[in-house]
């Protein structure tokens, strides 16, 4: 059983759960405390020691039956009664007097074997048949057949005939013999189900083991424009976690700022009441200003994906910022701050990408957008304000109007530009990145989540 539990843990790890060795030890210790035979407490013990996050539960529930199939019920149902078993053992012993100590015959194993014995048997069979090429679900049927047929069923049937004949000689009544034959068939089907289970488990282990654990890592590095729908869903979660992590970090820093150096003057003043004995220490606070952020997101179709994630990211860290205003643009600028303030993250981002007061199907014109920003919003920009622009700077041959950007740069603390295109593509075709570069505090390539995290954390930390 111990071995099986360890395999199960291996399976969980393969499915992306971080089960530490200490937790594995806990699981085994826990099992010594509960009643093995009771499946519910067995399961509860494993769950309490191995699964620590709500979202890992489905994986646990999915894998558990694969590993602990038929737990507590012996090897399937319908083991023959004790008397019959005794007769079987005796007869078979007689038949093969010389091999009494040899391995039990397949027939005997089938009729009387317990769960663990069947497991071992199947494992041997699998070794013989070879499961190294088992990868996809479609192969399950084939491998089940292959392993099942690896056993010498003809031999077992011959043995059964032999056995039945001898039992008949001993005067068993025909009805009972028929039942025995019937039982043999049933047990064989049960055995087949076990084999199938074994194959399913192996398959689950292999297919998941390879992919799931580093899927998250791959996702981080995958260009945002190439994600499919399922990955987008995962990505949303990843963005959220990333932002949370960043927020925790920020909160921590805030706390550390409170534990500044000793403020001698303040300490003396505070402790006047104690006759100058410094009972309460006063520390100097390190002041750190909260960042103000204006986000300008290009939402033309070419970069909408990146913008979407950026907006999500920014939405989540809003409360770390003193003030944030968000705009989306294509060839004119629309403010979406209120969407973020009032709506949930899903709805807010969705509205920002569809319902701002701009024409979404226009052609990007960065120049006119910057002009508009300079004329309408620059007065709100202060010395603490960063301006974050997300866009590919593909200006459709319009006037880049770099001087508008320059005045924005002068007034703000700095402009940071995230470009979803790789650097070699800048300034090719209708890209005017080169015109803007001199006025930027920073220009980064932002193709995937990793880039995004780096950009935002360098901005905030």
């Amino acid at each position: 059983m111990q071995e099986r539990v360890l395999e199960f843990i291996e399976g969980l790890r393969g499915a992306g759960l971080a089960v530490s060795p200490a937790e594995a030890v806990d699981a085994l210790r826990a099992l010594t405390q509960v009643d093995f035979i009771d499946p519910a407490s067995f399961k509860a013990a494993l769950r309490a020691t191995l699964v620590k996050r709500g979202r890992d539960l489905p994986v646990f529930e999915e894998l558990f039956p694969l590993y602990f199939y038929g737990l507590g019920s012996g090897a399937g149902e319908g083991i023959p009664d004790e008397e019959t078993l005794e007769a079987l053992r005796e007869e078979m012993g007689n038949g093969r007097a010389g091999e009494r100590d040899g391995p039990a015959s397949l027939l005997m194993m089938l009729m009387a074997g317990q769960g663990g014995e069947w497991e071992t048997l199947i494992r041997q069979g699998a070794r013989g048949a070879g499961t190294s090429q088992l990868y996809t679900r479609q192969q399950i049927g084939m491998y089940t057949r292959r392993i099942f047929e690896h056993f010498d069923w003809e031999g077992a049937e011959r043995e059964l005939e032999e056995l039945l004949r001898r039992l008949e000689e001993r005067g068993w009544d025909p009805q009972r013999l028929r039942e025995l034959r019937q039982l043999f068939e049933e047990r064989r089907e049960e055995f087949r189900a076990w084999v199938r289970h074994y194959v399913e488990r192996e398959q689950a282990l292999r297919s998941r083991g390879a992919s799931r654990s580093d899927r998250a890592r791959r996702l981080m590095a995958k260009p945002l424009s190439e994600l499919d729908e399922a990955e987008l869903q995962l990505m949303r979660e990843a963005v959220y976690q990333l932002a949370r992590r960043l927020r925790n970090k920020l909160a921590l820093r805030e706390k550390q700022a409170r534990r500044g150096r000793l403020d001698v003057k303040g300490t003396l003043r505070r402790n006047m009441q104690h006759g100058g004995i410094p009972f309460q220490l006063v520390t100097r606070r390190r002041k750190r200003e909260k960042v103000e952020l204006f986000v300008l997101c290009d939402v033309s179709s070419s970069v909408a994906r990146v913008s979407q994630f950026m907006l999500r990211f920014v939405y989540t860290i809003q409360d770390c910022l003193a003030r944030m205003r968000s705009f989306v643009f294509v060839d004119e600028l629309g403010e979406v701050t209120s969407f973020f303030a009032e709506e949930s993250i899903e709805e807010g981002v969705r509205r920002a990408l569809h319902e701002a007061d701009i024409v979404y199907y226009a052609r990007s014109d960065f120049g006119s957008v910057f002009r508009q920003f300079r004329d309408e919003y620059l007065q709100d920009v202060g010395y603490r304000t960063y301006i974050l622009i997300i866009g590919d700077a593909r200006n459709n041959q319009n006037d880049p109007c770099a001087e508008a950007l320059e005045s924005m740069a002068r007034r703000s603390r700095g402009i940071i530009w995230l470009n979803p295109e790789p650097r070699p593509f800048w300034d090719t075709g209708d890209s005017v990145m080169g015109d803007y570069l001199p006025h930027l505090k920073e220009a980064r390539v932002c193709r995937n989540l990793e880039d995004l995290e780096r950009a935002v954390s360098s901005l905030l930390l």
């Binding site: 210790r29 405390q33 509960v34 407490s41 004995i277």
Partner: protein, 301 residues
């Protein structure tokens, strides 16, 4: 001590806390393995109560530490009682003067005072906070660390140390080890994901809304004088309300409040009118109440 999971179920039931065998198994394991138990789940399913009734069932001392943002060691572990120290120095001035009688130099005076300083930094002047109380307690204790997700990440790191060794070192006094390893129950609402390090050290229990039968048993156990028919109607209605898309889904505690309210109001049975009138007991947001009113037909037969 609990003898086995079944024993947990029975003894908690004596305290009017109904739980399934799986939950009981985990509690039993926490006791046997002497590991902290991290309980997560939606609000109002009895996470906090679990700690309380476990203490009552075991007849152990119950110590509670409520977490909040900004909670630190001096609030959770121990603190020096400055005022008392100050007071004592004032009162004992004469003794101190005697002690210093005939001192020649300043250095010698400091030396003499230093010899006495452990008097002022002894157990007498330590105010034990919940964690230290649990460690020092003569009797076995159940330590409930409530809403641990509300505390700061640093505090969590500090908890790790205490929870793994159950000993505390106070620099001026030395290391104090627990006489009895307390049974520790941490509860979390998932306001913040707890660190993996903490989770690794804990057994994990996810308490969810109970099934209808279990909730009915809970209502019958906790609300005296309720008729079974009414109770099952209440449970059924709550079950249906939970399936509406609500801002705050009612927990078991709300079910109980509601059942008690209905008993007080002498309600015979739950009809649409009664439901509509008493919705504000189970739902805490105006929006939710409106939504439930709109769906009254689905909620009661």
């Amino acid at each position: 001590m609990f003898r086995d999971p079944q024993d947990v179920v029975e003894r908690l039931a004596e305290q009017r806390y109904i739980c399934g065998l799986e939950t009981a198994t985990v509690i039993y394991l926490a006791q046997q393995l002497q590991k902290p138990l991290l309980v997560e789940g939606p609000a109002g399913v009895g996470k906090t109560d679990l700690g309380k009734v476990a203490a009552a069932a075991l007849k152990w001392e119950f110590i509670r530490l409520q977490c909040y943002e900004g909670l630190d060691e001096s609030k959770a572990l121990y603190e020096w009682e400055y005022a008392k120290q100050l007071l004592y120095t004032q009162i004992l001035k004469d003794v101190l003067a005697q002690e210093l009688a005939g001192v020649g130099s300043l250095a010698e005076a400091v030396e003499r005072v230093a010899r006495q300083d452990e008097v002022f930094f002894s157990r007498k002047f330590v105010v034990p906070r919940p964690l230290l109380r649990a460690i020092l307690s003569e009797r076995p204790t159940v330590l409930l660390i409530d809403e641990v997700d509300k505390s700061d990440p640093e505090f969590e790191a500090f908890l790790l140390e205490v929870l793994s060794d159950f000993q505390v070192s106070i620099p001026e006094i030395g290391t104090l080890a627990a006489r009895h390893i307390p049974m520790v129950v941490l509860t979390s609402n998932n306001a913040r994901e707890m660190s993996d390090a903490l989770k690794r050290r804990c057994l994990h229990l996810y308490l969810d809304f109970p099934g209808r039968e279990q909730e009915l048993a809970i209502v019958l156990a906790k609300v005296p004088g309720i008729r079974e028919e009414l109770a099952s109607q209440v449970v059924e209605a709550v079950y249906r309300i939970r399936r509406l898309d609500l801002k705050k889904v009612p927990g078991i505690s709300e079910t109980l409040d509601w059942a008690r309210a209905l008993v007080v109001l002498n309600a015979e049975r739950l009809d649409r009118e009664t439901l509509s009138d008493t919705l504000n007991v189970i739902l805490k947001y105006e929006k939710d109440i409106t939504k439930a009113r709109e769906n009254l037909r689905q909620l009661v037969d």
